[in-house]
């Protein structure tokens, strides 16, 4: 049976929602929260989202979207253009490449995987920014940011997992 227009629109909206939500996270990430000391080490929410969707539903997070999410993050956060695009795409690529490692594993394994991948992402962005600014950038803030990334991941992942489970049920 051919799906009606409204049905197709519905599927389309539902399928593009993960990307939109991740773009929204980029905006939320740059909001001034007025909490002392936080702005420098605020966890990178879109990174978590890209990782989470790459693990569970890579088809809803195409590489082109990952590229634009990274680019958007670069534009708003003021990092050299392209740095986070490369970092996000690398995270995405690593997860897709190691897909078998993640399938049907417990959440702890996925969390551990994020710990490893996010560390790689922090180191990669540190290297890229250092090269582009032709100096050794202070790494301390990046270390704290990584720790916060790692610590905050279950929170965001829990929300996304519920969503993904609900999706699986309707299908």
């Amino acid at each position: 049976m051919k799906p009606t227009f409204s049905q197709r629109l519905d599927t389309y909206t539902r399928n593009s929602l993960p990307v939109f939500v991740t773009l929204l996270l980029v905006l939320i990430n740059v909001l001034p929260l007025h909490i002392p000391g936080l702005s420098r080490i605020v966890p990178i929410l879109p990174l978590m989202a890209v990782y989470q969707w790459a693990v569970y539903r890579p088809n809803l997070m195409p590489p082109l979207a990952v590229f634009f999410i990274g680019l958007m993050f670069d534009v708003l956060s003021g990092t050299p253009l392209g740095v986070n695009a490369v970092v996000f795409l690398t995270v995405y690529g690593v997860v897709i490449y190691q897909q078998r490692f993640f399938t049907a594993k417990s959440f702890l394994v996925v969390w551990f995987g994020f710990g490893v991948v996010a560390m790689g992402a922090s180191i990669l962005s540190w290297i890229l920014v250092s090269i582009l600014s032709a100096s050794i950038v202070e790494p301390r803030a990046a270390v704290f940011q990584y720790l916060l990334n790692f610590g905050c991941f279950p929170l965001l992942a829990w929300i996304f997992l519920r969503w993904q489970n609900a999706m699986a049920k309707t299908e």
């Binding site: 909001l31 605020v42 708003l76 392209g82 690529g93 940011q145």
Partner: protein
């Protein structure tokens, strides 16, 4: 992609091919295409990085366009966040009201003494100015704006402001709060602009350290306490020395409070800025009436330091001895 139940004739007989077989052939092709897209995107990102190095102006313009587009959203969303944090701070303040009151009372008494001193100095200043026939600039205007985004990152220290070129913001303007210098404008859209904080890696601000009027350049290094570089040899600094803008290079007004020297060691001095980045909500850009004076090349490459021997004698109003091409912003007395 492929129609289900793909049919074709083989040896005259109709063969219904299993769709699984098709997908087994199509999968690697699809995978290859996707891999191609993936590698292409990574290369594109690297190309953008190169472009940012080669043609910084173009990339900055593109950045401004995007920022301008999202500015209204950020503006709308950041308002409730700001009021929520303000409310939290107010509740927090309620707890400590008694102690704070006591502290403020003591502060008040101390400030009254300062006020007396300031009044005396002001009249003294006025009389000395009239002696020298010195004129102060009167054409300084302020443009206020709200911080709508704090970039939140370990690698870049900048803020977005909800005012742009239509409000009179221009590239290079100094941004201040009542406490002191925040940074300068580096990108301007029509309704938003980007402030480069003094702690950012790319920030270089010519400063004077009081007392002694030692000249130096305040260089951000992505920590909360920027460094002092190009200190003249033999200059003596101590903890608590006042750091103000010198106005050299032409982009900044003279005498904006920046911070105090917090650490002095063999490998340089660090400055604790007066302005705490996290509490910033409303800021003001100083329209100094000198449009486009900020050049593309960084200021640090110009020799700013002068021989230390001439420093103490040199009055600030005539310190034009260095090789800066732009006219100093200090008002020199008519000769």
């Amino acid at each position: 992609m492929f129609p289900r139940g793909f049919e074709h004739r083989q040896n005259g007989a109709l063969v219904k091919e299993n769709p699984r077989v098709i997908s087994r052939i199509a999968q690697p092709i699809k995978g290859l295409a996707q891999r191609f897209v993936y590698v292409g995107l990574i290369l594109a990102a690297f190309a953008l990085m190169m472009l940012g190095k080669v043609d910084a102006v173009l990339v900055e313009r593109a950045r401004t366009v995007v920022t301008d587009t999202v500015a209204p959203i950020l503006d709308a969303v950041s308002k409730p966040v700001a009021s929520a944090s303000k409310f939290a701070r107010r509740v927090e303040a309620l707890w400590a009201m008694y102690e704070e009151n006591e502290a403020l009372r003591q502060d008040n008494a101390r400030l009254f003494q300062w006020q007396a001193v300031a009044r005396q100095l002001e009249s003294e200043n006025n009389s000395l100015r009239s002696l020298l026939n010195f004129t102060t600039r009167a054409d300084i205007a302020f443009i206020s704006g709200r911080v709508i985004a704090d970039t939140g990152g370990a690698f870049a220290h900048s803020l977005l402001l909800n005012a742009g070129s239509r409000d009179g913001i221009q590239k290079g303007q100094a941004v201040v709060t009542g406490e002191g210098l925040v940074g300068r404008i580096t990108g301007v859209g029509s309704r938003s602009s980007r402030i480069l904080l003094i702690s950012d890696l790319n920030s270089r601000i010519p400063v004077i350290i009081e007392p002694g009027r030692v000249r130096a350049v305040l260089a951000g290094d992505n920590t909360d306490t920027p460094r002092l570089i190009h200190l003249p040899p033999g200059s003596i600094l101590s903890q608590g020395d006042l750091v103000i803008t010198s106005g050299h290079g032409g982009a900044f007004p003279v005498g904006l409070a920046v911070g105090v020297v917090s650490v002095v060691s063999e490998n340089g001095a660090k400055v604790q800025p007066y302005v705490a980045r996290d509490r910033l909500e409303l800021v003001r850009a100083i329209d100094f009436g000198l449009a486009g004076i900020l050049r593309a090349e960084p200021i640090e490459e110009r020799p700013v330091a002068v021989p230390p021997a001439t420093l103490p004698e040199q009055p600030s109003t005539t310190s034009t001895t260095d090789s800066l091409p732009a006219p100093p912003l200090t008002d020199s007395a008519p000769e």
